[in-house]
């Protein structure tokens, strides 16, 4: 093996990345240490150069802050008008992304990458606008200060004492195609500041004075330079990878960052990011939810959620593990994912508590072999300065849209304490009754029993109360000296202490068991919900079924109103055509749905795109193809954005996508089948017509030409014979053509039923009169009991059914054999049967007889096209009835059609 060969998988991934980049627009960031170094100026200069190269350059948005030199550079460049937003009376000028996308320049300039958009904009952040521009294939020039980089945000906050909230994920910086460092030594910057060439918002004057200290500026400059250098370094490494320059293959690093719910979490994530970038490693941020942690307040859980989202923005994969014990869960996960570095906070327990209760770090160190463990210390209290600043991110309150959880179970607790007192009293009463008969040690057991009972039912507080009360009362009542809290025998002290410890341990255990049971039941419920939905989805036969099932199940799980939107033929989202369900969301925003559908990303409330929308919009897909959009309006956003719930929702969406795709495939298959069937029919029609029309034509032409040729020479009987043959064959053709035309009309569905009330007897009479000649040699027995109701039917068509059945009977039974027409009343229907005494129907063909172009005996001389019975079936079916054939037990076949009577026959007014 040649060690110089690059790893093919890695190369492939690189090629894919490059391809994706090639389709996207190119991002160039003008990067500086602080405001005033001349980023905008440099950007405009570059833009003018491009313009001079005849490229289509558009200034999307540039802040000149009234500086003349900068303003001058704008001349000759096309500037996109800003979008004016009225926000609480103030006019805000924002970058107009829709206009930019519509205009589609080759290069667009959008200043201030870290800018936060006015409320009501499509994306909360400008970098997201730029992301969309790049996706659309437009090259973007933008400017950024180092302090706005997410991973440096924390450090710079420490250095400068000023923390900016407008941050840009590092991934945006890393994915930029080009970084141009705009550098200015601090002294010169300070001079420019004095000259008033640096834009300083008035109200922030004081803070910025503080900011623009020379020390700060040097530090910022260093950071900017270092950041640029590390990028260059990364490019160098990439280059070496491409050209297989590396001597030693880098092991694929995977770093696991473990966060808790404490203040260290955010620092851990940022540190992890730096480590991962430095090592060019994959990184995963994990949060282990233990039963204790599950009892945390909602705000704290939101804080964790926020940190996880931050990690995602910084490019990490995030997981939430649910386990009773953090250390073991981390080890298991690390093994599964081949993690070789774990970063976590320094243990918070110290001294004896750590020794007694253990710590996650200890568990990891003693169990995780081949894994390096990094500990991040928390800053000393004195160093930390304002500890609240550190907590800021966590304390920032609930996630947007998340509402506070209110219901506290105070009442139940209260009840627990009453029970604790009651149980102690009960124990005392029982103890008093048996006092003297039992040893004191056994009396203690009575109280212990009570404590265990309280601990199992009401948790820690009441059980501690019960044990303290128990100990007190026991001492008071049963330990000498009686009715005093003093203890004569010191050995009882141990009894008392043991009781207390047992109470606390048991209640703790019980509490854990209970919350684990809760976790388990949650999980079980989720599994059940998922199972129920997949079962229902599997049973769904139509797209509408799927949608209805999904909407209902989503409502059950997420307490949300939902609607599933599909695009029309032109790819535009439209409202569903069906009647809404009770659980349906009405008035979803189609433009948001359209954006989601086009970009295959979620949007709406609580997300990064169009957060102003009321609902949340998720795309769902099957095998890369976006099929539609789910709009979901939850009662409580937490129910959607909790990690486990989000996973559940993702699974839901996947299942919905699969179900829809399955049904579409099935429909496609059915359509294909129908087409094949139609094709087969057309072929049999052609062969049947060509055979059955040509045969009589041969006779007609032959006979007629014989007559014409031998004019006057043929003896009269022969002439008559030929003429009869012509007439017979022509009649045969005529009935054939009638059948074909009837079938065509029935098939086309163009038939209008002329339904009226008809006595069965009249229909039979008409048919028998019409068939008088054909049935002349047969006895036709009509069995028409009195009281047969009238039929509401198209008489001409029903007569046609009878005619076809009788003609068939005449055709396939020996001449002269009798026929029967039987009528009887069935349940809300009339049954008419044509029976014969012929050879019967070949076994197994009773159903096939009614298929088009089906004949029992092929090539039979008397055959028709095989349409007669198919016509019968079609006619009976349009009347809402059914028709079937079977052999009679006494020999012969019988064909029965049943016509429903779905309304009362008319009565004659007197």
């Amino acid at each position: 093996m040649n060690a110089e060969r690059p790893d093919p998988d890695e190369l492939l991934a690189r090629v894919e990345r490059e391809n994706a980049k090639a389709r996207r627009g190119r991002l160039k960031i003008f990067f500086g240490a602080a405001a005033g170094v001349g980023k905008t100026y440099a950007m405009l200069l570059a833009a003018r150069e491009r313009r001079a190269e005849n490229l289509d350059v558009l200034v999307g948005l540039v802040e000149t802050h009234g500086r003349k030199e900068t303003q001058a550079l704008l001349e000759g460049l096309e500037v996109l008008p800003s979008r004016v937003i009225d926000y609480k009376g103030a006019k805000l000028y924002e970058f107009d992304i829709d206009a930019a996308l519509k205009r589609r320049p080759a290069i667009i300039l959008v200043d201030e990458l870290a800018h936060t958009n006015a409320p009501g904009s499509r994306h909360p952040k400008r970098w997201q606008d730029i992301h969309e521009l790049l996706e659309a294939g437009i090259d973007v020039y933008t400017a950024l200060n180092v302090q706005h980089l997410e991973s440096l945000n924390d450090d710079i906050g420490h250095i400068s004492g000023i923390r900016v909230w407008e941050t840009v994920p590092d991934t945006v910086f890393e994915d930029a195609n080009e970084i141009e460092l705009v550098d200015l030594p601090p002294d010169e910057l300070l001079v420019r500041l004095k000259e008033g060439k640096v834009y300083v918002p008035h109200q922030a004057q004081h803070a910025l004075d503080h900011f623009f200290r020379k020390g700060n500026l040097i530090a910022l400059r260093e950071l900017a330079l270092r950041q640029t250098a590390s990028r260059v370094d990364a490019q160098m490494l990439n280059y070496r990878d491409d050209h297989a320059i590396r001597d030693v293959w880098q092991v694929n690093e995977r770093i696991l960052i473990c966060i808790g719910s404490n203040a260290l979490a955010e620092r851990l994530v940022r540190a992890g990011k730096r480590l991962a970038t430095g090592l060019r490693a994959e990184w995963i941020v994990a949060y282990v939810e233990t039963p204790q942690l599950q009892r945390m307040s909602a705000e704290k859980r939101d804080g964790v959620l926020r940190i996880l989202r931050l990690a995602e923005q910084l490019g990490a994969e995030t997981v939430t593990l649910s386990a009773p014990e953090i250390g073991q869960a981390l080890i298991r996960f690390a093994r599964e994912r081949n993690i070789n570095k774990i970063v976590l906070g320094k243990p918070s327990r110290r001294g004896w508590r750590r020794w007694l209760m253990g710590s996650v770090v200890d568990v990891l160190i003693s169990n995780a072999h081949n894994i390096n463990i990094y500990l991040l210390g928390s800053p000393l209290r004195s160093e930390r300065g304002d500890p609240h600043a550190e907590l800021a991110l966590i304390r920032k309150g609930p996630l947007p849209g998340l509402r506070q959880r209110i219901p506290a179970r105070t009442q139940k607790r209260y009840k627990g304490y009453i029970w604790a007192v009651a149980v102690t009293i009960l124990s005392t009463v029982v103890g008093d009754m048996v006092f003297g008969q039992l040893e004191l040690a056994n009396l203690v057991m009575l109280y212990l029993l009570g404590v265990v009972y309280i601990a199992t039912r009401f948790g820690r507080g009441p059980s501690i109360l019960a044990s303290v009360l128990g100990v007190g009362v026991f001492d008071f009542m049963f330990v000498q000296p009686y009715y005093s809290f003093s203890v004569a025998d010191s050995q009882f002290l141990i009894t008392l202490l043991a009781m207390l410890v047992v109470a606390i341990v048991i209640s703790n255990l019980m509490v854990n068991v209970r919350s684990q049971a809760k976790v388990a039941s949650h999980r079980e419920r989720r599994a059940a919900v998922l199972y129920a939905m997949s079962k229902d989805l599997a049973a769904s036969q139509t797209e509408m079924d799927v949608v209805r099932t999904a909407v209902r199940h989503l409502e059950t799980e997420f307490s949300s109103r939902n609607v599933i939107l599909f695009p029309n033929k032109n790819g535009r989202m439209v409202y569903p055509g069906q009647k809404p369900l009770a659980e349906s969301l009405l008035g979803a925003d189609l433009s948001v749905a359209q954006w989601v559908f086009d970009h295959n990303e979620m949007a709406g409330q609580g997300t990064n795109t169009l957060p102003g929308a009321a609902a949340i919009y998720f795309p769902f897909q099957n095998e890369d193809k976006v099929l539609g959009v789910l709009a979901l309006l939850p009662v409580n956003l937490r129910r959607v954005f909790l990690p486990e719930q989000q996973k559940l929702l993702e699974t839901f969406l996947r299942q919905i996508g699969q179900a829809i795709a399955r049904i579409r495939f099935a429909e496609q298959a059915k359509l294909t089948h129908t087409q094949i069937e139609a094709e087969r029919l057309r072929n049999s029609l052609l062969s049947a017509i060509s055979h059955d029309l040509r045969t009589p034509l041969a006779t007609i032409i032959g006979s007629a030409s014989t007559l014409a040729e031998n004019n006057g020479q043929l003896p009269p009987p022969d002439r008559l014979d030929l003429c009869r043959a012509i007439i017979d064959e022509a009649e045969r053709m005529s009935s054939l053509i009638n059948n074909i035309l009837d079938m065509a009309r029935l098939d086309a569905g163009a038939l209008e039923l002329n339904r009226q009330w008809h006595p069965v007897e009249e229909i039979i009479g008409t048919v028998l009169t019409l068939l008088q000649k054909k049935l002349a040699d047969r006895q036709v027995r009509v069995n028409l009991p009195p009281g047969i109701p009238m039929l509401y039917a198209d008489s001409v068509m029903i007569e046609q059914v009878l005619i076809n059945l009788l003609e068939n009977a005449a055709r396939y039974t020996p001449p002269g054999s009798p026929l029967e027409i039987n009528t009887e009343v069935a349940k809300r229907a009339v049954k008419i049967t044509v029976a014969d005494h012929g050879p019967g129907i070949p076994k197994g063909q009773e159903e096939r007889l009614f298929e088009k172009f089906y004949q029992t005996r092929h090539e039979a001389a008397q055959s028709g096209v095989g349409l007669g019975l198919a016509i019968c079936r079609a006619i009976v079916q349009v009347h809402g009835g059914k028709i079937y054939a079977r052999n009679r037990q006494t020999g012969g076949a019988e064909f029965t059609f049943v016509l429903p009577i779905d309304q009362p026959p008319p009565v004659i007014e007197k």
């Binding site: 009226q756 007897e761 009249e762 039979i764 009238m790």
Partner: protein, 231 residues
Amino acid sequence: MSKNNPVIIVIEDDPPIRRFLRTGLSAQGFTVFEADTGKQGIVEAGVRKPDLVILDLGLPDMDGVEVIKAIRNWSTLPIIILSARSNDQSKIDALDVGADDYLTKPFSIGELLARIRVALRHRARPLEQLQNNVFTTANLKIDLTNRLVSLDNREIHLTPIQYRLLSVLVKHAGKVLTHQQILKEVWGPSYQENAHYLRIYMSQLRHKLEADPTQPQFLLTESGVGYRFKV
């Protein structure tokens, strides 16, 4: 133009059909005049003093119904219409405005001749079975003066409506009457929609007059069109 040589006008646009009608009818001793449009047909009917008109409903220049109406303006001569099979309604319309009989294409010359003979016989001697206002056919006797109906010389009791229905049919014996025509004559113009009345009474009549109501001898159903009293 003697009685032995009745004049028939054929209004039909299809030459082969005209040809076989001309041949077939001439061979049977009819004098045949042809017209290939409705207008010419109306003119011929006025000029030739025909005994009967054979009219195709599918003419290129005008609706056959209009032709019938035009002829009925001045004549009651029998009109037999020829219609395509799938066109029940135009057939009914034609009968409603006064056509006497119809034939559905394709038909044999034999069928046509039978219809022609019935129609001509009617025209020459309306209701030959009617003597002294008593109509007799086979074993059925209807005394229109005394309103008596007898079968095999046994009197049959009929309700007033049954009798009225029977008398209407008998008066036009041999001719096809549409549902509308019968309803109008028996029940009056406001009952035009109640075709089931007619069917129910017809069924009652058959039960009283026919040996086997499912194989009627007198009261025939013209499927989808109306009824005819067979003579």
